[in-house]
């Protein structure tokens, strides 16, 4: 049994290294990445409270407990049919506590020229495409969590969409965390490659089945070749005791379009780090987010939009609804490198505080080294306006309907572009449930 524990860096690393070796020996490709990952962990340190990028949140919940590896748990196969998306029948990969579940997965609706499967399996088969693309796009420099994820690399989704292929069914990547009597550590690495002119919709879905504590560390890498179009919706509904630390790295080539929507509803502590990097001229990308948190939840988004070449149209609308003592952090970096002219970048973080004790830290950040660019950024923190509530009540809606409608209206903008009907409906329901729940607790107007 391996324990993941932080005691002045030392134990955490030692335990990791002790365990890391036991995964090796099945695939040279994976062994190499794991070794590099383990070295990466050694060469840096886990975040300390004084680290600039971590100063608004505390990782005490991660450091103060020990975690067993998910593979040490005995897990009975859960019935997950309630969580399947009707649009994704036969286009689904399921991972339970980070481990691929063949019995829950089904990819028969996808045509044979699409490569889709579990990374460990494809690595064992020496898949050339996997070898070409694995661990290429999550280049989070000196990031201990990405290295940590690499050090434990085994299972995860690999999807390759060939040239010109337009995939109709959204591909559902369902990551389920089970209830357990021990805290556990779960990780996965996924890679999505959209070759020239291809189109695909990915629904990355993280669900906690219980109310237990675990640490989930998913990393997803995306590569969009020329004229590829990828829509990526990430839904995070982990257990309310969970820690969810995630990395999303996307590279976008000429005339490609990456649209991502990240919805955060679960976990006690969540940290998302989307990083979109331009690999050529003339690209479009969207990195929208919706955060709905209450109780003692903490949600932190550190994003990077890296404009490295001329002409890009980038968009980031990050909306947060915060109730009770919940805490939202947003740090959005926009880089425009030298010679990356004609960049049109929009960034806005809007926060709706429903309680007096909620907390918001927001920091839009522009670093621009080119001169012919249009970058707008802004952040707002507000409450439900009593006059808005009154307006709707004067039209006959009761307090609950009025508040629901206003929160819904606030949230809608970030989810209305999600084209998978069942996902959109699910999210609308989540917004309603969230709002209804808020009415049971004390509300400050």
């Amino acid at each position: 049994m391996a324990k993941v524990k932080q005691q002045k860096d030392r134990t955490f690393l030692q335990d990791l290294l002790d365990f890391q070796g036991s995964l090796n020996g099945k695939s040279e490709l994976l062994d190499e990445i794991r070794l590099k990952g383990a070295e990466g962990v050694k060469n840096t340190h886990f975040p300390r409270p004084k680290d600039e990028d971590w100063r608004f949140i505390s990782l005490r919940d991660l450091y103060s407990d020990s975690f067993v590896l998910a593979s040490d748990l005995e897990v009975e196969a859960p019935d997950l049919s309630d969580h399947y998306l009707p649009e994704s029948e036969g286009a689904r990969l399921v991972f339970i506590n980070g481990a691929y579940s063949e019995q829950h997965s089904a990819t028969d609706a996808l045509s044979e020229d699409i490569v889709i499967g579990n990374i460990a399996q494809l690595a064992a088969e020496d898949n050339a495409l996997l070898k070409e693309h694995l661990n290429q796009y999550a280049d989070f420099e000196d990031d201990v969590f990405t290295s940590f994820n690499s050090a434990f690399l085994k299972d995860g989704a690999f999807i390759y969409i060939p040239k010109g292929k337009k995939v109709e069914a959204p591909v559902h990547l369902l990551f389920v965390q089970t209830d357990a009597d021990r805290n556990y550590f779960s990780t996965s690495r996924s890679v999505i490659v959209a070759d020239e002119g291809s189109e695909v919709t990915i629904v990355e879905d993280h669900i906690g089945l219980g109310n237990n504590k675990y640490f989930n560390l998913p990393v997803i890498e995306l590569n969009l070749e020329q004229e590829a179009f990828v829509k990526h919706t990430k839904m995070q509904r982990e257990s309310r005791e969970a820690i969810h630390i995630a990395r999303t790295g996307a590279y976008v080539a000429k005339h490609s379009n990456y649209e991502s929507y990240t919805i955060t509803r679960g976990a006690k502590l969540s940290r998302n780090e989307p990083r979109i990097s331009q690999r050529d001229e003339e690209v479009q990308f969207t990195v929208d987010g919706l955060v709905l948190i209450d109780g003692d939840q903490v949600s932190d988004t550190h994003s990077v939009m890296d404009h490295r070449f001329p002409v890009a149209d980038s968009h980031q609308l990050h909306k947060c609804v915060i109730n009770d003592k919940a805490h939202s952090v947003f740090n959005g970096k926009i880089f425009v490198r030298r010679d990356a002219q004609k960049i049109d970048s929009f960034q806005e973080n809007r926060n709706l505080l429903l309680s007096r004790k909620g907390l918001v830290n927001t920091k839009p950040q522009l670093e621009i080294f080119a001169d012919d660019v249009v970058c707008t950024h802004g952040a707002t923190v507000g409450q439900l306006e009593p006059d808005e509530v009154f307006y709707l009540k004067s039209r006959g809606l009761d307090e609950q309907q009025a508040r629901e409608l206003l929160v819904y209206a606030f949230a809608l903008e970030t989810i209305e572009n999600i084209t998978v009907d069942s996902v959109q409906k699910l999210l609308v329901d989540e917004v309603h449930k969230f709002t209804e729940k808020q009415l049971d607790s004390e509300i400050a107007v």
Partner: protein, 260 residues
């Protein structure tokens, strides 16, 4: 229909008294105008009738169809058939006019024993009402007041009034900020909506809307009281002479300790 008796109202937050003994009777089939200078309490009166929580009634009563409504929430008042057109209509991005109004209509329909309308029926019904205020059908699909011009917002209020078919409507400065064409449209809408069974109270600064909507009674509100009640001619006199002559009258009335 509406009886306001010796109504005293203060701002809940700081206790400032705004209405100092308002008496007003409005019967079905009537159109009333309430005029007065800035800060006289006209808008407050509208909001208090609609149930705004920022105000506290310290004395007096508001009866609607014989029953006190003071304890009722704004939505419960709407269910009875009370409507207020806002001076500054609120923008609700993300919620279409159609969705808000259908939800509002059906909520009121349940209380007033009308038939509820499904989306298609409601669309037909709403289309008819749009014509009253000369609005394009696309208004139904647009977010409530979001990005509307001032004139569009005011027309949208009258459109909402037409859809919700209230018994009593308080229109709070619905005429302000309108150019003459928009004013005529809004006035035309009000005229078509008002009938023997409902009542309209126009709260306004200016006499000009009364050129298009004939009031049965004109009230002048000064310093939190109805200082004078008359007919259309009173409005004309106010337009010519301003409010000063009335301000003096109120002062003397107050000295005698009488209301109205």
């Amino acid at each position: 229909m509406l009886e306001i008796k010796d109504l005293h109202v203060c701002v809940e937050e700081d206790g400032t008294e705004i209405l100092k003994g308002v008496n007003l009777n409005v019967n079905a089939g009537e159109v009333h105008a309430i005029m007065g200078p800035n800060g006289s309490g006209k808008s407050t009166l509208s909001k208090v009738v609609a149930g705004h929580e920022a105000y506290e009634v310290t004395k007096g009563d508001i009866l609607f169809e014989g029953e006190s409504i003071l304890e009722l929430e704004p939505d419960e008042r709407a269910h009875l058939g009370i409507f207020m057109a806002f001076q500054y209509p609120v923008e609700v991005p993300g919620v279409t006019n159609k969705n808000l109004l259908r939800q509002a209509y059906n909520t009121i329909a349940r209380k007033r024993d009308w038939e509820e309308l499904d989306p298609l029926q409601f669309e037909d019904y709403a289309m008819e009402k749009l014509e009253l205020v000369d609005m394009n059908p696309e208004f139904l699909e647009r977010s409530v007041n979001a990005g509307f011009s001032g004139g569009e917002k005011k027309r949208n209020e009258i459109f909402q009034m037409a859809v919700l078919n209230p018994k009593l409507s308080f229109l709070d400065e619905t005429d302000s900020g309108l150019d003459i064409d928009a004013l005529k449209t809004v006035a035309g809408g009000i005229n078509q909506i008002s009938n023997e069974g409902n009542a309209v109270v126009l709260v306004t600064h200016y006499q000009r809307i009364l050129d298009y909507v004939q009031p049965d009674k004109v009230h002048v509100m000064i310093n939190g009281q109805i200082a004078k009640t008359g007919d259309k001619d009173l409005a004309v006199k106010l337009e010519d002479q301003g409010y000063d002559w009335l301000t003096n009258e109120v002062a003397s009335v107050s000295v005698n300790g009488e209301q109205q």
